[in-house]
Symmetry: C2
Subunit: 617 residues, 2 copies
């Protein structure tokens, strides 16, 4: 799936969740609290305390207060106005959900629409006080405000979460039980990982390392949880030193057994909220390693004067991206299981669309059913995108009762879905032919496939980054004056987040986005697409494993091993547009898919797959 803030994950899956109280009244209650504290404005973002891509229900204060359920948005409440900023994916939805509430919709990036900072600049008086929960914003966010409000002597009030005071039925902070990922799956014990991280700390002369990224903590300790939608992690902080390690978590989420194991690994457990105090106890002259992009504002504020901050990406970002041989082996079997489920789903769609009523949402249910049949399946790695016809052109489409449509025996269905298995995380997109296609649909399907195949077949020297390779996937589209407005590839975690760095495949040279060489063991997606608004969308996505190939006098060559094992729908391929090499790549992949999946399929399914993967000439 695409590497941007994810689509909505409102668990009850429909717009306008019922609330007893009207939005007006909620805002009034909030303003009352603001008045008591002398706040001219209060900001409610959509973040947890860990800068997670997805957030648990506890953190959906912006959704509760505004009624807007999209996954991305920031609410600003002033004395006598309120506004909500969201991006292009949600303009339509926000228009509907905010239509009859006293909140102005700010369409981010639209011409003439002020940023939140610009809006504040216009609405604040000199000396005003602005509030927000310091745990839900980054320092970058505050610095952005500073820039705009410099000459207004604005002060910030970041100690309190006012939403909490006006949200009676707020869901509790998730505190699901933590479970252990056996070293047999992880490949490295937590002791070994702690050693690796500490040696990096030594290199950087860091006395302490502050870890707030939930996937890093889960990776480091070989633990998993269920506090965040679509991501098997648990709410926690860690403060790591040469001689001790402290894990801050909520009460009772760790079994005695796990707590014992942590202890024997030198990790002591403290309450979740104690992290600020621990950070505050650092000594003058000490160096703390804290990634300014990820650690929340309040924690950075808690670092005492005189303690030096080493502001660079956590050493674990690169470590967990390079999968161990054990993880690689397990990933292959996870993808066999996922391949069986998705292949069954494709066959089901193509063979049943004429016989019975299938909607986008019911189809998603069918696929989830097939995945659940697989041993070791734990749940989706992101909200499924099952987009029929014109919906396929909406890159981050998520079907809702209002938008759900019945599929017809024509056009294309874009299915971008993934799952978490004990053996790893999957993410696959196929564009499925349900019947008659237009020439344009066939041409575009084939052009995107050319790019996918070329990138997938790339051989390159060690040291090459995604930025070097992106154009291999785009070239066939660029040649024809076409493009897709998203990255070509994102890293994928091992039973962690479906989006992880540092590697990526994009062409823009962007200071925010790292240029990380593709190393043996990294998993990355290969997903070019094409989107024709109002008509159809196409995306072909495999996950690939970066591998070492031949080493010779020119250097160490690398190649990409496909992990995803699902056929591409041949019914949409305009063969005349593929050259011999591309045909050979496709046929070789399909041979491998058949050989890999057949043993796990019924005779009927095998026959169908044999045909679906038969040689194209």
């Amino acid at each position: 799936m695409q590497l941007t803030k994810s689509q909505t994950d409102n668990s009850d899956g429909f717009y306008g969740r019922e609330n007893d109280m009207k939005v007006e009244d909620k805002l009034q209650m909030l303003r009352e609290q603001m008045r008591k504290r002398g706040l001219a404005a209060y900001i409610v973002p959509t973040e947890d305390f860990h800068n997670s891509e997805y957030v648990g229900d506890y953190f959906k204060a912006r959704e509760y207060l505004s009624g807007f359920t999209g996954s991305a948005g920031t609410l600003l409440v002033c004395r006598d106005s309120a506004a909500l900023w969201t991006d292009g994916r949600y303009f339509l939805q926000a228009d509907q959900q905010l239509s009859d509430v006293p909140i102005d919709l700010m369409k981010s990036g639209q011409l003439g629409v002020p940023t939140l900072a610009e809006y504040l600049e216009g609405h604040l008086k000199s000396g005003d006080k602005v509030g927000f929960d310091g745990r839900t914003v980054t320092r970058a966010f505050v610095e952005e405000l500073d820039k705009k409000l410099a000459d207004k002597q604005i002060t910030y009030y970041s100690e309190e979460d006012l939403a909490d005071l006006v949200w009676p039925d707020r869901p509790a902070l998730s505190a699901e039980p933590v479970w252990e990922l056996d070293v047999e799956y992880a490949g490295l014990s937590r002791e070994e990982k702690l050693r690796m991280v500490r040696s990096k700390m030594k290199e950087e002369k860091a006395d302490a390392l502050l870890v707030t990224a939930l996937d890093e903590i889960a990776w480091l300790l070989n633990l998993r949880g269920n506090d965040v939608c679509n991501t098997p992690v648990f709410l926690a902080y860690m403060l790591l030193a040469e001689d001790k390690a402290v894990l801050c978590v909520q009460a009772r989420i760790l079994s005695r057994e796990i707590e014992e194991k942590l202890k024997s690994a030198g990790v002591c457990v403290r309450p979740y909220d104690e992290i600020e105090e621990l950070v505050g106890r650092l000594q003058t002259g000490q160096r703390i390693w804290a990634d300014g992009r990820r650690v929340n504002y309040r924690l950075l504020q808690a670092i005492p004067e005189g303690v030096l901050q080493l502001d660079k990406p956590s050493p674990m970002e690169g470590m967990k991206a390079v999968k161990t041989p054990e993880e690689m082996a397990h990933l292959r079997s996870a993808h066999v299981k996922d391949g069986v489920a998705v292949t069954r789903f494709i066959r089901f769609l193509k063979t049943h669309v004429e016989k019975e009523k299938i909607t986008e949402m019911s189809a998603a249910g069918v696929l989830e059913g097939f995945r659940k049949e697989m041993e070791g399946y734990l749940g989706p790695s992101f909200d499924p995108i099952i987009a029929y016809g014109p919906h396929g052109a909406i890159v981050h489409y998520a079907a809702t009762p209002e938008t759900d449509v019945e599929m017809q025996p024509k056009s294309l269905c874009l299915a971008d879905t993934g799952g978490h298995y004990k053996e790893g995380t999957t993410d696959v997109t196929r564009t499925i032919v349900l019947g008659e296609l237009t020439e344009e649909e066939k041409r575009d399907y084939t052009l995107v496939l050319k790019g996918h195949l070329r990138l997938g077949a790339a051989r390159f020297l060690q040291g090459v980054c995604g930025q070097n390779l992106d154009c291999l996937a785009r070239e066939p589209l660029w040649e024809n004056g076409l493009d897709y407005n998203h990255g070509t590839g994102h890293g994928v975690g091992y039973l962690l987040s479906v989006h992880e760095g540092p590697q990526n495949i994009r062409w823009r040279m962007n200071k925010e986005i790292a240029c990380a060489p593709l190393e043996e063991g990294m998993v990355i997606s290969n997903e070019p697409g094409l989107y024709v608004t109002g008509r159809f969308g196409i995306r072909h996505e495999n996950l690939v494993l970066c591998r070492k190939g031949e080493e010779n006098e020119y250097g160490q060559f690398m190649y990409l091993e496909p992990l995803t094992m699902v056929p591409f729908d041949k019914d949409a391929i305009e063969v005349s547009l593929l050259n011999e090499q591309e045909l050979e790549w496709l046929n070789a992949y399909h041979r491998k898919v058949y050989k890999t999946l057949a043993p796990w399929l019924t005779q009927e399914e095998q026959d169908w797959l044999r045909e679906a993967t038969s040689v194209l000439k």
Copy 2:
């Protein structure tokens, strides 16, 4: 040609230039001067005061003192030892030239070979004094020494050029007359360019801009000169302020007429050496824009305490890289002239190699003769690389009487040459078939051609950098486990340096190398290659002009217009390795070459070219 320090440019073109004095004696004289000043070591680099790629004879002190004539090398003279560092291109030559002199050859980059800083660390005592001419090194160089010598309390003596005291017959500092490039060629008047630069200074709040790069001064003032080998520039410094501009040049190089024109443009002329004094007069609190990568150490030292240095690339780097419509138009005609000369040369080689004795050096003379026949030709833009057979595998080969070989009617001749015309600068490489080829030669020639054609045909979105496109040229080689160890493309100046930034086509993400988007009007080379040591070398190089193409809902598309108009030798093409698209690209280019050059050729030459560019199937 390749974007690295250029090959030797010793004008008399042979090794071991005669010197009355023995190297031993020269070093003794230098040591005498060192002793007088209490210097433990003295460093003689190969640089002029402007960090130019090529240097005039005045600056060849290292060559004079050591007898090593390569273009890259640094001499270090200690109390009782001396060493010279050079790179792989010159190991052979340096071995010969230093064989019987008391100077140790340090092969840079070889395992176990210390860097100059490391060598000094081993040879210096605490408190020692190290000398060098501060005008011939960068701050980066000195900082490198500092790092290694930190704990030795070393001091530097950078005020004096000791070589000057021991080099009786030193050539005078070149002071050739400056001439004007009409605005008809430049497209922009110096007044307009001064305005552009000053508006950039305003943006950066810079009170002054220190310009030491000779090509920037020549570009800014629409003046050219002849003080530096292969580059029509003149020795000068500029200090630019909002309200005044000072040009520091040697006496009598400007005609009264030019001086008048400069005056009326607000540029006053001062002596070349006065620049240090001018910089020293800056006021506390002022901001001076000075590119730390280019401005020499002594000038940076001259900036008074309390003056803030804005250390970033000069604004002119990007300005001169984007050619004006007038420059683009003239460039096309320069390349027609160059194309005629090079095409004649190719025909001459192929048709005469069996009939008469042709050596690498005599061939270079023939090509220079053809170029001289062209109106507006001013001279070579770099030293020609005419490399026959195994010599082709030496990327920066320059034939000398010792290496010069007679060409045989077999194998390949790599010819990488270029010229300066009033209408612009050219740089072209063709690999010419002189007779029988091996299968390997044909395969490699064709694989390199595939990469060249694919990059040349690239369509891409505005904003794309060379780093994004490099792999298009390498993919056919990487697929086969092959590579070339140099960049794919370098920017080219307009009647300035044949190598200029900021654009380039390379894959390594290197902090030293900018990622500059390819903008309309930039000229860049497309020159993949392949080098088989001891056997042959292949390189195919065109200069291309970056152009705006279609603009649509996906953005502004760009393409590369070929400027170079010279046929590729079809005799080496293994057609079966080219796909239809590549064949079409090649045939279309050859059609254009014939159409463009034919009007300027004799009937005989036309007939030959028609055959040489006939359609391949």
